[in-house]
């Protein structure tokens, strides 16, 4: 593809090599975070953030190595979709994790959600008793907004 390697080629190769190694290190960082953090919520931070930067760097190195302009829009689309979807899945997993009490309360310095959830739970049991055991639909009140925006 490149008959005579020039100085520019060497620089581009070096930059993409650095990008590739750093991108791989980001994946390793996610794995280390998964193994070392104490509870689900902190592991979620480790699982989401390095992924986005890692994929960005690796896609950039693909674009640099191929040296054609028409790859960049496809790479951009891939990254944008990643940016749009990663917070959605992190939010859903975190929400489920919080509700199923998958967190170590002694590791939290403050928790301003606990009182709200407690109130909602009390209200729900009261409602449930009044309605004869039927579960009220709480999804309307607490639906994640991320479901609506990301797909449109």
């Amino acid at each position: 593809m490149n008959p005579e390697p020039s100085a520019v080629d060497t620089v581009i190769d070096a930059v993409s090599a650095v990008f590739m190694v750093v991108g791989a290190v980001m994946s390793l960082g996610a794995a280390i975070g998964l193994l070392r953090f104490p509870d689900l919520m902190s592991r979620m931070h480790a699982a989401t953030k390095p992924q986005v930067l890692g994929l960005f760097l690796l896609l950039a190195s693909v674009g640099l190595q191929l040296r054609t302009w028409w790859v960049w829009p496809a790479l951009f689309v891939a990254w944008i979709f990643q940016v749009l979807t990663v917070p959605v899945s992190a939010h859903m997993v975190g929400r489920a994790g919080y509700r199923t009490k998958h967190l170590h309360r002694e590791l939290l310095t403050t928790d301003e959600l606990e009182a709200v959830v407690q109130k909602a739970a009390d209200k729900k049991t009261a409602d449930g008793r009044a309605a004869g055991g039927q579960e009220p639909d709480e999804r309307a009140a607490h639906d994640g907004p991320a479901d609506d925006g990301a797909s449109a």
């Binding site: 994946s27 794995a31 190195s61 190595q65 199923t100 579960e135």
Partner: protein
């Protein structure tokens, strides 16, 4: 130079995949395992990228785009399912 980069990234990504698999194996809860498998998917995406960059082809590009569009559906579904299941107070 590309051979060196390929070796280094292969080692790093293998270690990362091993870490994610360990978390899938020991993860105390279902959500931990879902999260770890998400990370494993991202690591696979990273290897696809590195393959394309080192060998200078675009065969995996569409796979990568599809991965980043629909890759999150699995964990969202499981998260929803877990939340629904645990609504019943009897099931600890």
């Amino acid at each position: 130079m590309m051979e060196v980069v390929l070796t280094v990234t292969a080692v790093i990504l293998s270690l990362a995949a091993a870490g994610a698999i360990v978390r899938i194996a020991i993860g105390p809860s279902l959500l931990d395992r879902v999260l770890a498998s998400d990370v494993l998917l991202a690591i696979i995406g990273a290897t696809l990228c590195i393959d394309m960059a080192v060998n200078r082809h675009l065969n995996n590009l569409m796979l990568l785009v599809a991965l980043s569009i629909i890759g999150f559906i699995g964990s969202v579904t499981v998260a929803r399912f877990v939340a629904d299941r645990r609504e019943h107070p009897n099931e600890s």
